[in-house]
């Protein structure tokens, strides 16, 4: 059971974002506790990706406040978000295809030698260490990531988040491009991260997967929050009803 008596790890209050008069995110508030996985659900265009991008600093917000560990946070760029240990794994796999795993893992935060030059050997050694833990089958350290499978690429993206001590992890459909076996690998990883007390916001379409991985689910429709429920207390049909009809079940959390 998740202990929700303390301070939430992150709290989004009254978030707003419009694109040319269309309210992509309309006064939405959600929260996340340590060791919890909260699913963010909704149709395409419901506003879930936009909401997450405001948290990760990729999009400026029009209104609303972000609290991390109960304190108001200033997040205006991806660099700001990283300072609060918020890491994002994007649906489109934010990797540079022409660089190898180590260069991608450390992109923007390269290790350097005393002369200020990038220390590739050190970065590769660190990459080998963390990949050995997350994905022991990973071998291709010296080739551009373009040649890797979807699961291998996803594990590089996850390793990046884990290496830099993510406390809050945003995952945008992390298994959308993966096969069955690779999906299972990512699920196990999510469970492990959860046990370490990391809070995860999981954007997903797959109701079945949400029931399996998430503790709570926040459903959005047309930019508005339909409601937040504990997934164990509702059925898959309840969740579908929220997504499609925007109808709250009787047992909303």
């Amino acid at each position: 059971m998740i202990d929700r008596s303390g301070t939430p790890l992150v709290e989004l209050r009254d978030m707003q974002k419009s694109f040319g008069g269309i309210h992509a995110v309309n006064h939405v508030s959600i929260d996340l506790y340590p060791g919890e996985v909260v699913g963010v659900l909704g149709h395409n265009g419901a506003g879930k990706s936009v909401l997450m991008k405001m948290l990760s600093g990729a999009l400026p917000r029009d209104g609303g406040e972000i609290y991390v560990n109960g304190e108001k946070a200033t997040i205006n760029s991806p660099r700001d978000a990283r300072r609060y240990n918020i890491e994002t794994i994007y649906q489109t796999l934010a990797l540079a295809d022409n660089l190898d795993a180590a260069a991608n893992l450390f992109l923007g935060r390269e290790l350097t030698t005393p002369f200020g030059l990038v220390d590739d050997a050190q970065m590769e050694a660190e990459t080998r260490k963390i990949m050995g833990r997350l994905n022991p089958n990973f071998r291709r350290y010296s080739t551009p990531v373009a040649g890797l499978s979807g699961g291998q690429r996803q594990s590089v993206a996850i390793a990046r988040a884990v290496y830099f001590n993510a406390k809050i992890l945003i995952m945008d459909e992390p298994t959308a491009a993966l096969g069955v076996e690779e999906t299972r690998m990512v699920s196990e990883l999510i469970d492990e991260l959860k046990n370490q007390g990391i809070g995860i916001l999981l954007i997903d379409h797959d109701i079945h997967q949400v029931k399996e991985l998430c503790d709570r689910a926040s459903v959005m429709k047309n930019g508005q929050l339909v409601g937040t429920v504990e997934v164990d207390k509702v059925t898959e049909d309840d969740l579908l009803g929220m997504i499609i009809l925007g109808k709250n079940p009787a047992v909303a959390a």
């Binding site: 990760s56 934010a94 295809d97 022409n98 660089l99 260069a103 935060r109 050997a121």
Partner: protein, 443 residues
Amino acid sequence: MTDTTETPRAGHGPQDRTGPPGGSPRLTGLRALEVDGRLLGMIGAFVVICLAFHFASDGRFITPRNLFNLTIQTASVAIMATGMVFIIVMRHIDLSVGSVLATCSAVMAMTQTAWLPALGLELGNPLLAPLAIVTGILAGAAIGALHGWLVGYLAIPAFIVTLGGLLVWRNVAWYLTNGQTIGPLDPTFMQLGGIRGTLGETWSWIVGLIAVALAVWTLWSARRDKVEHDFPVKPLWAEGVVAAIVAVLILGFVAVMNAYEIPERVLAREFRARGLEMPEGLSMGYGVPYSVLLVVLVAIGMTVIARRTRFGRYIYATGGNPDAAELSGIDIRMLTVKVFALLGALCAISAVVASARLANHSNDIGTLDELRVIAAAVIGGTALKGGVGTIYGALLGALIMQSLQSGMAMVGVDAPLQNIVVGAVLVLAVLIDIWYRRSLGVK
């Protein structure tokens, strides 16, 4: 060494370096050398071109004199091509380099013949050349930064910005000089053009030996880094072979430059000018030209930037996936300004070499250089879709273009036909590159 600056290499496929840390996989022959297949291909093409022209010209192509001239003719385009690599890697293009070169050349010519002399520094003053060069480089960097700002911050496509720049800077140069040819330039300045300034035999050998020492040290320290982290390394004999090849190439180049002898009448004139009698039977070689030394230094600097600095890493990352770079917190707009400014500064250095070689600034200096520079980068394996390109590739590309051009002139091919051949070779080179990549299974 994570090699991020090129596509996977032949003999360096996914099956290599996959052994457990500490145990190096058993490799034999060429594969153990971990040599870049594309590099070998380009060197092969260069050798074939040289041999073909050598036989077609009755043995006049591979001579110290011609090779010396070839290197000083290549210098100007080669310097700009290293900067063009970064521009193309970032998915941009710069069509204005020839015109920016002209403006920088005009600025430097006016600085040393009109503006500084007006302040009391006469032609021949030792301060004149450095001041003129610094002024030129600042002008070039400022022009480049302006282009970069228009591209990065105002989001105007680089093609349009630099197409405009092609016209603007060609004619800014015209206004700076009132359309006149400015010359002669300062004697110190003109030493950077080629034959007027060389290291001489002794210093060429010294510089050559220093270069060999540096190359060996680089190989050795890369190996030490790998051993320290228990990464697989090449067998020691393979490292030795690579080091030996590099040493032979460097010292061989020095030997060729030294073998080009200063004509006797030129030597006699030098001695007379100093009031000395020329010893009987004296002969002296030119040695490595300063302009070629400049190319080497620029190439080393640019390679270090590409492979070992954050700036370079971000250029390649942005070219590979701009969104990923931006989400990683890289300021792409500022990066664009810096990369264009860097190319602008390199255009100014090229302008020094080009105008010093001609001994004056003329209105048409650098005309069509944009095409030669882009062709050199592309023949050297820089992919127009971004993310891929090497500095040494661009140098070889420039050398191949220039040897085709001079070779055909030497053999007596009609001028129009020369350009037809060069154009066709450019297209063919890109086609071969596409096939090569496909054979490696790279998208």
